[in-house]
């Protein structure tokens, strides 16, 4: 090699002289079979985790979502029947491989005791407080009734309605309330439990029974009822 060639590099067949394989992988690293090319569309699902009730666990969980760029729609956290444990309920939207990753990454956090993706028939509830102009009180309360809403505060100018239910129901209620003029809204994320006898998150070593678990949503909503 000459002086000017010192940077040149190594000998061997150039890239275009080499054989190349015909296969390909998709973005998720899955080999693509052109005949049955599987595309993974994002889907929305609820993941329920039982965690040690200790400082930092919530930031561990939320930090994981931001660091790994998982799409999270809502996160709620609350106590369980066991004072050392808390439940974090997450609504996420990802393609299947992403949902798998979320579950595995959550499971790796040391204070996380169990992780479970709930079936699509799981009970899910959100709560919303909607503060509306009370110019037409009768109509407001008619709409509130339509959505099983409850008036938790009222004054000559405003009425605040509490609505619980599925996300769709709350969306619909809010849309209907818009005709009166909405001043403020506060919404919780989704809380969810598995149906029937199955336990939402059953770690090997916990004694939490399904029966006591089932009574939990009432406990959680109790303060709201007192408003």
């Amino acid at each position: 090699m000459t002086d000017g060639d010192r940077r040149r590099g190594l000998d061997g067949p150039a890239p275009d002289e080499r054989p190349t394989p015909t296969g390909r992988r998709n973005e998720q690293g899955i080999r693509i079979d052109p005949a049955v090319e599987a595309t993974h569309e994002p889907r929305r699902t609820v993941i329920s985790t039982l965690v040690e009730h200790e400082p930092g666990v919530l930031s561990d969980v939320s930090g994981l979502f931001s660091r790994r760029q998982f799409n999270i729609e809502s996160l709620t956290v609350g106590p369980t029947t066991d004072e050392d444990r808390a439940r974090i309920t997450l609504v996420v939207e990802e393609p299947d491989p992403g949902i798998d990753q979320i579950k595995k990454q959550l499971r790796k956090l040391v204070p996380v005791i169990s992780v479970r993706e709930l079936e699509s028939d799981a009970m899910r509830r959100e709560l919303a407080l909607v503060k509306i102009d009370a110019d037409e009180p009768a109509q407001v309360s008619a709409v509130a009734d339509m959505y099983d809403g409850k008036t938790v505060d009222s004054c000559p100018e405003t009425a605040t309605i509490e609505i619980t239910g599925s996300r769709q129901k709350i969306d619909a209620a809010i849309e209907t309330f818009e005709q009166f003029g909405i001043r403020e809204i506060d919404r919780t994320g989704t809380t969810a439990l598995a149906r029937g006898i199955q336990s939402t998150a059953a770690p090997a070593s916990t004694t939490e029974s399904t029966a006591t678990e089932a009574s939990q949503p009432q406990n959680q909503y109790a303060p709201a009822d007192d408003d």
Binding site: M1, D3, R6, R7, R8, G9, L10, D11, G12, P13, A14, P15, R18, P19, T20, P21, T22, G23, R24, R25, N26, E27, Q28, G29, I30, R31, E52, P55, G56, S59, D60, G63, R67, P97, D100, Q101, K104, Q105, R107, K108, L109, V110, P111, V112, I113, P203, S205
Partner: protein
């Protein structure tokens, strides 16, 4: 099975006697023993009951068998240092906390046991972060202990207060703020166990000064992982059977060994498996040394600067047995073109690595050594791969790593690496900085033993080399040479560590491959930025041999080929630290090269192919 692997027990099977495996001399606190009932075994001098949180912390380290700790003193960590004063644990005072973390990291790589580093609150803790992040990326076992301002000041922006657990959460396997003097020792025991068990990684315990200063007689529990931490030892036998069948019927099999092979002490089992079934072996960078690179089946390192033959092998294989690798992008290049015809058998102890980047057709979750042994039992006949092996050998000659080294030109870095390799034993430990020199070290040193390659892989932290050499020196056997192959830029980042090497009289040889460039960046600028050398040229570097002398180390300099062998021999024969300032060809580039996100099979052998 290895020493490490045998002492790994699933959490539910762990008993206090696990501690006995690690340090038979240590006294055995029982989980259910009330602290005041604790009595030291007869004849034990250091089993005096603890009296403070800090003593409990040090006792936890002693119980775990810790021999060395690397750190820097400071206000908030003083109680721990005071307790260390009476301990057998040897503390190495570093010049910078980043160095303490890298030294602990390298200690962990070479010994297999977590390296321990200490720092004070605030700047001490933040200086550790680079080293912690490095250990996290490379899954190196490491325990960091940081001082913290007293609990009552936490949250008040007190002097040298940093939210250390907040800062380190994304770069640790787990971290804890120790809130309770009675529990602080056990927090440390648990963190130590977490650092080494399962997939290793760095853990951190933040120690507020009031907690470590507080009186307590609570002895720490034995180093055990918490109940919520679980990992699988053995893979699902059904998937093992299916994977075995895939291997038996493969025509173009490749083993891809990752760093988990070394961490899981699976090198021997993988070697036996590959040799018995005559399967070509490719490694990732952290797995260098897992398979002897002078073996016929060795295709060496794959990926961005891997050998052409390794990249051809992984691109064209039909079956890939990947063990302990996370399919990092520097290995895979573009996902679309990574091993596009291969059925992937993926062995990993971390289920989250399965199908994270590359879909696993045969997911085998478990300990590397255990699962490869399972595979070895299950595979009954070797794949029919004579043609494939011949093809691999052909690639080895087609894409030979041979380089030109004309006598009358500046010294080639490859030549220096080979000369260092030649002059040292097979078990010599190599550490590096980050850049071209690191790649030449991978490519031109022939590694044959696990735990002899110590580098910053996933994080790519310049400055790693010298402090890592300090940690490696203390972990290695006396007859293992420790050589740091550094770059001029990397060396400048942490060369204050020379003061430590001199003070501790550590036998380390640093070879600075001095191109007076931020060389790797210069190479990319030439290839991708029309040769505009923005902030990559020094034009001047200090005389590293003179600097070494000023520190009290021995300095050497190489400018020509005929000085290489003799100077290396002289430097190696020095008893303490020595530094060779090797002036290499500043124009030398690293090839082969797969540009970021490129196709591994289309690696460039020269700039005009990029």
């Amino acid at each position: 099975m290895s020493e490490r692997a045998t002492s790994v027990t699933p959490p539910e099977e762990q008993h206090d006697d696990q501690n006995q495996d690690q340090n038979p001399d240590a006294q055995q606190p029982q989980r259910d023993t009330e602290p005041d009932e604790f009595s030291a075994p007869a004849g034990e001098t250091r089993a005096e009951p603890v009296t403070t949180g800090a003593e409990s912390v040090v006792r936890a380290l002693e119980n775990a068998g810790v021999e060395y700790a690397f750190g820097v003193q400071g206000g908030a960590i003083m109680p721990i240092y005071d307790a260390l004063y009476d301990s057998e644990i040897r503390h190495v005072t570093m010049a910078h906390e980043q160095g303490a973390a890298h030294a602990a990291d390298a200690y962990g790589i070479v010994s297999g046991e977590p390296g321990v580093c200490l720092a004070t609150s605030g700047p001490g803790a933040t200086n550790l972060v680079t080293g912690i992040a490095d250990a996290d990326m490379d899954s190196d076992p490491m325990l960091a202990l940081t001082g913290q301002v007293p609990t009552e000041l936490v949250g008040n922006d007190a002097f040298q207060e940093t939210d250390t657990t907040g800062v380190t959460t994304p770069v640790t396997k787990d971290n804890t703020f120790a809130a309770d003097p009675d529990g602080v020792g056990t927090d440390v025991s648990e963190a130590f166990a977490l650092a080494r068990e399962g997939r290793p990684g760095p853990t951190l315990v933040d120690l507020p000064k009031d907690v470590t200063n507080a009186e307590t007689d609570a002895e720490p529990d034995a180093p055990e992982t918490p109940d919520t931490y679980e990992f699988t030892e053995e893979a699902d036998p059904e998937i093992v059977a299916a994977a075995a069948e895939q291997i038996e019927t493969a025509n173009r099999p490749v083993m891809l060994l990752g760093g988990g092979v070394i961490k899981g002490e699976a090198s021997e089992t993988c070697r036996e498996f590959a040799i018995e079934h005559e399967i070509p072996v490719v490694t990732t960078m952290p797995a260098i040394g897992a398979f002897p690179e002078d073996h016929e089946l060795a295709m060496e390192m794959a990926g961005m600067h891997g050998t052409g033959y390794a990249n051809m092998a992984i691109t064209h294989c039909d079956t890939m047995i990947a063990v302990g690798t996370r399919f990092d992008d520097r290995l895979t290049g573009g996902i679309e073109t990574f091993a596009p015809d291969a059925e992937i058998i993926h062995v990993d102890i971390d289920p989250a690595e399965i199908s994270k980047n590359i879909h696993a057709d045969y997911p085998l979750v478990g300990d590397a050594d255990t699962v490869v042994s399972q595979l070895a039992h299950a595979v009954e006949r070797s794949p029919q791969a004579t043609k494939w092996r011949a093809q691999c050998q052909q690639w080895k000659s087609d894409y030979s790593m041979a380089y030109d080294a004309p006598e009358d030109e500046p010294v080639r870095p490859e030549f220096v690496v080979e000369a260092l390799d030649e002059a040292t034993s097979d078990r010599a430990v190599v550490t590096t900085g980050v850049g071209q020199h690191q790649m030449w070290a991978c490519q031109y040193w022939t590694f044959t033993e696990p735990r002899t390659w110590v580098s910053s892989h996933g994080l790519g932290a310049m400055g790693y080399g010298l402090p890592a050499a300090i940690g490696a020196r203390l972990a290695a056997d006396d007859d293992q040479e420790v050589v740091c192959i550094d770059g001029d830029g990397s060396f400048l980042m942490t060369l204050q560590g020379l003061s430590v090497a001199v003070r501790e009289n550590l036998d380390i040889t640093v070879a600075v491959l001095n191109n007076e460039y931020i060389g790797m960046v210069r190479q990319w600028q030439d290839a991708f930025f029309e040769g505009r050398h923005s902030a990559s040229e020094y034009g001047w570097t200090p005389e590293f041999d003179t600097i070494a002398e000023a520190f009290g180390a021995t300095g050497f300099r190489i400018d020509d080929y005929d000085e290489v062998a003799d100077t290396i021999a002289a430097a190696l024969s020095e008893d303490g630290p020595s530094v060779i300032d090797v002036h290499i060809d500043p124009q030398a580039n690293v090839y082969p090269m797969v540009p970021s996100g490129g196709d591994n099979g289309q690696f460039a052998l020269a700039e005009d192919q990029l």
